[in-house]
């Protein structure tokens, strides 16, 4: 007999995992295209949540509209981020400097700096305490399937993620811009030789990745009911872990590993006090880095 | 008894992403020999060097140095055993002085520990490193530029700096990767004399070169690689007349 509570934990874990997956995709896309880690990505998630809160407080549109507007906000933030923290360091147009260690370290530090600043600005603007989402918007109503009880939020996350993943797939493989993104991921110099506008592809990558991240933020906000400016830090790290586990440049890999992380975390709360649950992801991180440098799904070859 | 053959390469094969970069190469370098390794581009020469240095491991075969197998050894262990090398693209540290660059090589000879650092410049190890560095700088005639930043050296002098650093590791075997690249004729002749001088001091030298004049004039023996396989291994005169060698070079403009 399968313990129904256990199944519940798994479903819980899956919805957490899907959130991590949405954030992880942003990391993976950006890493694929620029070979750098975007430390500010976690803050995009937070910004998404707060943008949603602001929309609710000012305009109070229906939930679907909020999500769409947050997507737009996310894209906007992503483009701005690229221009601010990443583009200035791509001073030269040759292969050597695109991959150069100095550039990568510089953008690492600059995105780190931007993320701290963004977090603190939000702290100042909204206060570091939790903000609650108005009750009417919450997705916490339970839906009961026999003995199983999940919330509307879970369902929304599943459906929304599925939609977003499907659109992403479509965009990457059926549109021009998706093709250019894939080409630049593969070989930036080669892509340029073939006439693809690498800068545009990079900007598009940031836009898309940030849209997904921001969407994750508002979904979690509606699900949990409470948001704080610090909320992006831990999920950001966990999404990064998922990306590394998945082999760095593989989106399906990142998604699967994010789900694994989410479920592990959820199951772990059974055995450990909740304060320790972050340890699960950090342990996964260390274990993966040390024992599976290629990622769990092979092709983890870092480009030079 | 000293092993006649200092470096032995037996049936070494290396596969690289499905390509056979080095194909069952067997050869050797004897004590105090000056051996040249030539071949068209892509013949596997640099791969062979990287195999000897320990950056990559052979898929098959083994490499022995002074009678010891190098299988599984990390590059720094191999360097300490007595194989010093230079790189084709001059990997000197541009932001450090000539003196400090060479001292890197000397560090390996005497060991490097934090305690040695705490003892300061007067400590025994530091003094030995200073001495060795100064000697090597004299050897390559860079003493007067010891305080200059490596980035400010002329190209020709930088080549000698790279060699000096390798010499500071007190190698028994010195592997030079295209030492004459970018040098004019006069400089090449100077370099040739210098290398011969090294050999006369007891060092064994294996070099990769494209400048035939250098190779044929000073090497005791020449090994020819093409497409990963060894196609000739004899004294310069014989190799120059070998039809297989000549054919492999046709069409490459060498």
């Amino acid at each position: 007999m399968i313990d129904i509570y256990f199944v519940q934990q798994i479903i819980n874990g899956l919805s957490i995992g899907l959130v991590y997956a949405l954030i992880a995709i942003g990391f993976t896309l950006i890493f694929g295209v620029l070979n750098v880690v975007n430390f500010a990505h976690g803050e995009v998630y937070t910004i998404g949540a707060f943008a949603g809160l602001m929309l609710i407080t000012w305009i109070a549109p229906p939930v679907l509209a909020i999500v769409l507007m947050v997507l737009a906000a996310g894209a906007f933030v992503g483009i701005g981020l690229e221009r601010l923290a990443f583009r200035p360091f791509r001073r030269f147009r040759d292969e050597a400097s695109l991959k150069s260690r100095a550039m990568r370290e510089a953008t690492l530090l600059s995105s780190l700096a931007v993320s701290i600043t963004a977090r603190e600005v939000m702290n100042l603007a909204f206060g570091s305490q939790m903000q609650t989402i108005p009750h009417a918007y919450l997705l916490q109503r339970p839906i009961v399937f026999g003995q199983l009880s999940i919330t509307v939020g879970d369902l929304v996350i599943f459906v929304a993620s599925a939609l977003m993943l499907a659109s992403l797939q479509f965009m990457l493989f059926r549109t021009r811009i998706g093709l250019s993104i894939r080409a630049v991921s593969n070989s930036p110099l080669g892509a340029r030789y073939v006439g693809i506008d690498t800068d545009r592809a990079i900007v598009a990558t940031f836009a898309i990745g940030s849209m997904l991240g921001a969407a994750a933020g508002i979904l979690v906000g509606l699900y949990d009911g409470m948001i704080t400016p610090q909320m992006g830090f831990a999920p950001g790290i966990k999404a990064f872990v998922a990306m590394v586990m998945g082999g760095l440049s593989s989106i399906p890999g990142a998604v699967i590993c994010a789900l694994i992380l989410g479920v592990s975390e959820s199951v772990a709360t059974e055995f450990l006090a909740s304060g320790w649950k972050d340890l699960v992801s950090y342990s996964f991180l260390i274990v993966t880095l040390v024992f599976f440098p290629q990622g769990l799904f092979g092709v983890g070859r870092e480009r030079a | 008894m000293m092993n006649e053959r200092l470096l032995e390469i037996r049936g070494v094969t290396h596969l690289f992403d499905g390509l056979t970069a080095v194909n069952s190469v067997t050869t050797h370098v004897a004590h105090n020999e000056l051996v040249g390794l030539i071949g068209p581009n892509g013949a596997g020469k640099t791969t062979l060097f990287n195999l000897i240095s320990g950056f990559i491991t052979p898929s098959e075969g083994e490499i022995r140095f002074a009678g010891r197998s190098l299988a599984g050894m990390k590059p720094h262990r191999i360097a300490r055993l007595g194989i010093g090398r230079t790189f084709q693209n001059l990997r000197i540290l541009p932001n450090m002085t000539v003196f400090d660059n060479v001292s890197i090589g000397a560090l390996a000879a005497f060991g490097h520990t934090p305690w040695q650092a705490l003892a300061g410049g007067g400590g025994t190890v530091s003094r030995r490193i200073s001495e060795l560095t100064r000697d090597v700088l004299d050897q390559v005639a860079l003493s007067d530029q010891a305080g200059v930043l490596a980035a400010n050296l002329s190209y020709g002098r930088r080549k000698y700096l790279e060699i000096a650093r390798a010499l500071a590791t007190r190698p028994k075997l010195l592997i030079l990767d295209e030492p004459a690249a970018g040098l004019n004729d006069t400089e090449t002749t100077e370099l040739a004399d210098f290398i011969v001088g090294l050999v006369s001091q007891g060092i064994t030298v294996l070099l990769v070169e494209h400048r035939m004049s250098l190779v044929m004039s000073i090497c005791h023996r020449v090994i020819v690689l093409a497409s990963g396989s060894k196609i000739a291994d004899a004294d310069p005169a014989t190799v120059q007349r070998d039809p297989v060698v000549l054919e492999s070079y046709l069409g490459t403009g060498e």
Partner: protein, 345 residues
């Protein structure tokens, strides 16, 4: 980079001999500052000075591993925390005195550092950076949740102040002098490490580790050593902190603090010991001086860090001519001038 770059400008013009410089610094640190601060008002000012010194140790040790050896570490505060908690627990539970807790805290942090470095050192730099981030966070989670041992979020209170063999005045002035002494010693040791042939080895590892390997340097061992030493000094700083503050809690050793310290190193100039010192002093004293802007501290730090990287990647001790003298001064101490000093004296 800066101390290597210092040799770039031909070291000419009068410079003060290093011995005199050290004497001057000692006088400044042990006589001028205490006298001045006592005269102005003492108490709180001494605390600021003490904090500055502690962060000078933290920034310099981070600089040793990140600036000199090239290993970006994002978890430095975690080791600071290990040192602080080790000293706190040793003194409150076992009644050990400062003279014991100080070195033991360093050893504890250093040992954990080596333990952590052993499996992770083969990672490429960005992975290693993230691994250190993860480790820093793990340390925080453990400090927060292992309540039986660390009292969790309540922290540890009642930590005895600094005592030297029974002599325990507990005044801010006394604390300052002891901390200054430890800082001076630590800076001396780190300076020796960085400005030596060993330091050259670390720089070689930073610039081109594959080549360093081929030259016979045991790259992995060097990296682990550098990391261990830097964690040792972070632990020392932690012990100093806990004995001067009297109370510690996990929140003081989070990622934000690691970034704080990193910012000091970046602003001052990666690879430069004096740069780290100045960076630390700036980022502590400035916000204190602008107390009214207290809330904006992290924003200021983040922005300064960003601007530093963008405009002045070599940090303050890069090409700024106003600080030329400082550079020449410190640059003279090591490889700059072959004419007067061959190798190391």
């Amino acid at each position: 980079m800066a101390s290597a770059v210092s040799a770039r400008k031909n070291v000419s013009g009068p410079t003060i001999p290093p011995a005199v410089l050290k004497a001057m610094l000692a006088i400044f640190l042990f006589i001028i500052v205490p006298v001045a601060l006592s005269w102005i008002g003492g108490g709180y000012l001494f605390q600021v000075a003490t904090t500055t010194l502690i962060f000078i140790i933290l920034a310099s040790s981070l600089n040793l591993v990140t600036g000199t050896a090239g290993l970006l570490s994002l978890g430095h505060a975690g080791f600071y925390g290990i040192g602080a908690y080790a000293a706190a627990l040793l003194s409150t539970r076992l009644g050990l005195s400062f003279l014991a807790t100080l070195p033991l805290a360093g050893v504890a942090a250093g040992a954990v550092g080596v333990l952590v470095a052993l499996p992770t050192m083969r990672l490429v730099s960005i992975y290693f950076a993230v691994a250190t981030l993860g480790i820093g966070e793990m340390i925080y989670v453990i400090l927060l949740n292992w309540t039986g041992f660390t009292h969790g979020p309540m922290g540890i209170r009642g930590i005895p102040p600094i005592d030297l063999l029974g002599w325990q005045p507990g005044t801010p002035l006394f604390d300052y002098l002891v901390v200054a002494a430890v800082t001076a010693l630590s800076l001396w040791a780190m300076s020796r490490l960085m400005h030596s042939y060993y330091g050259n080895a670390l720089r070689a590892v930073r610039e081109d580790d594959q080549c360093a390997d081929a030259m016979g340097l045991n790259v992995v061992r060097l990296k682990i050593e550098a990391f261990g030493v830097s964690c040792f000094f972070a632990g020392i700083a932690g012990a100093l902190f806990c004995h001067t503050a009297g109370f510690i809690s996990p929140d003081q050793f989070r990622f934000a603090e690691s970034i704080n310290i990193l910012a000091m190193v970046v602003v001052g100039g990666l690879g430069s010991l004096p740069g780290a010192v100045i960076g630390a002093a700036l980022l502590i004293i400035l916000p204190e001086a602008l107390r009214s802007f207290g809330d904006f501290r992290m924003i200021a730090i983040g922005s300064i860090m960003f601007l530093s990287i963008l405009l002045q990647p070599k940090g303050l001790l890069g090409e700024a001519s106003a600080l030329d003298l400082l550079r020449r001064q410190f640059g003279q101490g090591w490889s700059g001038n072959f004419a007067t000093r061959v190798g190391w004296r």
